[in-house]
């Protein structure tokens, strides 16, 4: 009898708990006004329809356990930047990408937009995120370079205009080229690197308007610096000379974080010009 009463009390307790939850849910719902309304934490940035791709200070988010792609991305950033937990960050970025993956239908490469405002705001499936792909790719650059390239390629598909992604692809191919033992493979990989760096340069070309507004004759000093190095590895000396010349032009009004590279580029040009052979550009 007592057991039965206890069971009834337990059921009643559960019902009350469920009712409280429902009431609380209803209250939150009515505060927010409608389904899918923003959470009350002003630092929790609900997508609309794109994700906020930056870093929110994780302490402000109030996430106990990430459940979706954006939350895993945020925790991954926190682990990588604030806790220096590389492995934890890799796990979280993988979890974010798994939950934001065009292959399993959890995200889309946005090519056209829905015709109504409501459909646009809800944009289903969600847009594919670029930040976890870039961050995971960068972390894997040396240990799984091919996967890094694949991740960077996904980003160029998501946003072909995003700067510096092609430069990283170039960096990755150069790494592969350095590791390749077969000369033909090596050359092919270096050429892929050159192609990627040229694609990077093409995203912010120096046009007539640019020259008129800035006085710059070249831009993107680091892409040219890297190009010069790869062209030298390919023994393409005129191209290497050209890249160094562009590097010098690009640094004319902007210097470099490694300022000693500027006189070094001049010395390298002198040395390249002094090299014998038909491809020395002389």
């Amino acid at each position: 009898m007592i057991r039965r009463e206890l069971q009834l009390l337990a059921i009643l307790g559960l019902l009350i708990a469920a009712l409280s939850l429902w009431i609380g849910y209803g209250e939150a719902w009515s505060q927010n006004g409608e389904a899918g309304a923003p959470k009350r934490n002003p630092n929790y940035l609900e997508r609309n329809p794109f994700y906020f791709e930056g870093k929110v200070d994780y302490e402000l988010l109030g996430i106990e356990q990430p459940v979706d792609a954006w939350e895993f991305m945020q925790r991954g950033i926190h682990r990588q930047d604030d806790l220096e937990d590389r492995e934890g960050a890799i796990q979280d970025y993988r979890a974010a990408i798994e939950r934001n993956n065009p292959e399993n239908g959890t995200c889309q490469i946005v090519k056209t937009l829905p015709s109504t405002t409501l459909e646009f705001q809800q944009l289903t499936p969600a847009p594919c995120l670029f930040t976890p792909r870039l961050r995971l790719g960068y972390l894997l650059l040396h240990e799984d370079t091919l996967q890094a390239i694949e991740l960077f390629r996904q980003v160029t598909d998501i946003d072909p205009q995003r700067l510096e992604v092609n430069a990283l692809i170039g960096e990755a191919y150069e790494l592969l080229g350095d590791q390749a033992s077969d000369p033909e493979d090596k050359e092919a990989l270096y050429l892929q690197a050159v192609g990627a760096l040229n694609a990077e340069l093409a995203l912010s070309p120096v046009t007539e308007l640019t020259r008129r507004l800035t006085g710059d004759e070249a831009n993107n000093a680091h892409a040219h610096w890297n190009l010069a190095r790869i062209q030298e590895k390919l023994n393409n000396l005129p191209e290497a000379l050209l890249a160094l010349d562009q590097y010098l032009k690009a640094t004319r009004w902007h210097s470099d974080v490694y300022p000693w590279r500027i006189p070094l580029a001049q010395r390298r040009m002198e040395r390249l010009r002094a090299r014998p052979g038909p491809s020395s550009g002389q």
């Binding site: 927010n32 791709e53 090519k111």
Partner: protein, 703 residues
């Protein structure tokens, strides 16, 4: 937090109305407060500021004049109604300040800038006889960019207090002109006539943002004291309402303006769903421009979990002796910090004894606030022009001397001292040894000691960054970040370097913003009105994007929030490819923009969070021995010397150049508004260097 948050709707006025007074009316009894307030940028300077006026103009160029106030006698209608359907407009005769509650976006846009910078002037404008800022004749497609005047044109009166205008649009002050009431900006009456938060006009029904206060000009002035002295001749009465007094003393009072939510066409921010929570305005979406109060509200100063063990309000730093009082030493994470203590107030009379009280009622000295309200801004306007527009007694930004408390009279000095109290850095987590040709990791740990993020306010333009260099013991420069280069700026006619480094942006990004151009037929939007990036390239010190999106530990550490435009497929990026064709997008593309009006997203998390140390690594590669030999350098001399410092720019030069061009004859108005030019930037933009610094030596070891 809850204890000081006023709830409920505002009180109705019960005392007789009193017109808004000029500060001079308060001066005989409150001389100290008026003098202090005059050198605050919010009072006077902002109204005539070149940057504020240019920004407001440029916003109108893009939006079709929608940032100007409309009034109750307007015959305008909204272009888009609450359901988002075009062509079903409703009367648009209320603005951001006058609406009881917002029902459509155009109400929030109308008076959007001036509504916080001079709310009383907007409210007075309901009476055509007192209207200082007229309504534009045409807005939207009927807007005439060639006819709009900068707001500061309206801030002149003659000796009879009648409004007079410069002869030419944007021209010099007319002869005999005196500053109008509006020229004083936020003066005494604005704050001391605010009776309560206005929940119905605040986006989140919390009385925060976009001047969501109840401003009622009566003889009742709200001060900070529960037991005020009787005022002489009843010029005014001092409120004894504890709710009103409590509100004035709270951070929420400041938060009613110091969060700025920009109403967005359609979705608002495309990366953050945020709608107005007011029952009647749920179709009004928003994005957060100024997020200062929210930063404070969700930060450690709005709790007892801070080094001082009590809530630190805005007034405790910006209306106290701070940073000129005593100092405190405390730990933040692993850092031991000594910095000025907030919340120290001077003892003084709140009014001048002998002249201010009824029947010479004796005054007692009490803890009083200062009214300098120093922040990170100083005028970018020459003193002679400030005085021509605001009166010959307008204080010099570099005025020598100190006040009775030892606080510098110079606003520039106060600003610099405040900045120096805002942040600390150290290099202790860096590598202690290095080898040629090998990576070296230098780590800068930084902490903001502010009640909000640093920088805050218009934090998408306020710029703090780490300048870091590594040299060998002989001075050979191995690495630099946060450096600037003297260069030409042909876009504003500066064809050669001018020898000035204060007008240069750090080298993470090269951008030139399109100023727009005059057009035979005006169209709302980007078509001829500029705002997109004509030039947008990564620089060699591109730390911000590398660190945030790639997780790459290199390049500039920049604490500046970012306005972003999410361009959508089919949109034009506003610049050209190598073939000279306009770049049209096939995919969404997010790009930094320097225009708050063009932005449809904002990243308010790039600034430094308060009291949470952050560590930034720089993975640096040292030159190889072979490279050094090629350079003719025999060897580097140990130790390597790392020097890091935090610098502050209150506007990015490239942003000011955009403002200069868009308000010149080159821009959509087709005329020079005489607001900003390269010379003004060269003469007055100051890079405040080394507000915090740290040094370290690293041993160079043989491989």
């Amino acid at each position: 937090m809850q204890a000081q948050r006023p709830v409920g709707n505002p009180h109705q006025p019960s005392l007789r109305p009193q017109p808004y007074q000029r500060a001079e009316a308060c001066l005989p009894c409150h001389r100290r407060q008026v003098d202090e307030l005059r050198s605050s940028v919010k009072s006077g300077y902002r109204s005539v500021s070149s940057v504020f006026n240019a920004l407001e103009l440029s916003g109108n160029f893009l939006s079709g004049g929608r940032l100007r106030p409309v009034y109750g006698d307007s015959d305008k209608i909204t272009a888009i109604d609450v359901t988002g359907v075009a062509g079903q407009g409703k009367p648009l005769n209320t603005n951001m300040n006058s609406a009881d509650a917002f029902t459509h976006i155009n109400q929030v846009q109308a008076a959007f800038c001036i509504g916080c910078h001079a709310p009383h002037i907007v409210l007075m404008g309901e009476d055509p006889e007192q209207r200082e800022i007229p309504e534009l004749e045409g807005v939207g497609g009927k807007f005439r960019p060639d006819l709009i005047r900068p707001l500061r044109d309206y801030h002149f009166v003659d000796s009879s207090n009648r409004q007079i205008l410069p002869e030419k649009i944007g021209g010099p002050p007319p002869p005999g002109a005196r500053p109008s009431l509006g020229a004083q900006g936020i003066n005494c009456d604005v704050c001391h006539d605010i009776t309560a938060p206005d929940l119905d006009r605040s986006p989140n029904r919390d009385g925060l943002a976009n001047s969501s206060f109840e401003l009622i000009p009566t003889i009742s002035k709200i001060g900070p004291f529960l037991f005020p002295a009787p005022v002489k001749d009843n010029f005014h009465v001092a409120s004894r309402d504890p709710d009103q007094i409590g509100y004035l003393r709270s951070s929420d009072f400041c938060g009613s303006c110091h969060d700025v939510r920009v109403p967005g066409d359609g979705s608002g921010s495309l990366t953050h769903r945020e709608i107005s929570l007011n029952p009647e305005s749920r179709s009004v979406s928003l994005f957060r421009l100024e997020n200062l109060n929210t930063e404070w509200m969700t930060g450690p100063y709005n709790s007892t979990r801070n080094p001082f063990g009590r809530v630190i309000r805005c007034q405790d730093c910006h209306m106290s002796l701070f940073p000129y009082g005593q100092e405190s030493t405390y730990r933040v994470g692993e850092l031991e910090v000594t910095s000025p203590t907030p919340g120290q107030f001077p003892l003084n009379f709140a009014a001048v004894p002998g002249v201010s009280t009824d029947r010479n009622y004796p005054l007692q000295q009490r803890q009083v606030v200062t009214h300098y309200m120093t922040g990170v801004d100083v005028p970018i306007l020459r003193t002679d022009e400030l005085r021509a527009r605001l009166g010959q007694d307008y204080p010099d930004v570099d005025e020598p001397g100190t006040d009775e408390y030892g606080i510098p009279l110079s606003l520039a000095q106060r600003r610099e001292d405040l900045l120096k109290a805002a942040v600390r850095i150290d290099l202790d987590k860096s590598d202690r040894t290095a080898q040629l040709g090998r990576p070296l990791t230098v780590k800068v740990t930084a902490v903001a000691l502010t009640g909000h993020r640093f920088p805050a306010g218009f934090s998408q333009e306020r710029t703090a960054y780490v300048q870091l260099s590594i040299r060998d013991n002989r001075g050979f420069l191995l690495y630099q970040s946060g450096y600037v280069v003297d260069k030409p700026h042909p876009e504003v006619g500066e064809m050669a370097p001018d020898g000035n480094l204060d007008d240069e942006d750090p080298e993470h990004l090269h951008a030139v913003v399109d100023p727009g151009h005059p057009a035979a037929v005006y169209r709302v939007g980007q078509f001829t009105n500029g705002h997109r990036n004509q030039v947008f390239q990564s620089g060699p010190d591109n730390g911000p994007d590398a660190r945030i999106f790639f997780g790459r530990p290199s390049g500039l550490v920049l604490w500046r929030n970012e306005l972003t435009r999410v361009f959508l497929p089919g949109e034009s990026l506003g610049r050209f490819n190598e073939q000279g064709d306009p770049i049209r997008l096939t995919r969404p593309h997010m790009e930094e923009t320097f225009s708050a009006v063009l932005a449809n997203s904002v990243d308010n998390y790039r600034s430094l969070p308060p009291l949470r140390p952050r560590t930034y690594a720089y993975e640096v590669v040292l030159p190889t021995r072979e490279e050094l030999q090629l350079l003719g350098v025999e060897e580097l001399e140990s130790p390597l010397r790392v020097q890091a410092q935090v610098n502050f720019l209150h506007f990015p030069p490239l942003f000011l150049r955009f403002m200069a061009r868009t308000t010149s004859a080159e821009g959509p108005g087709g005329r020079d508004y005489h607001l900003i030019d390269e010379k003004l930037i060269d003469d007055l933009l100051v890079n405040v260097r080394a507000i915090a610094s740290a040094d370290l030596t690293i041993d160079l070891e043989a491989p």
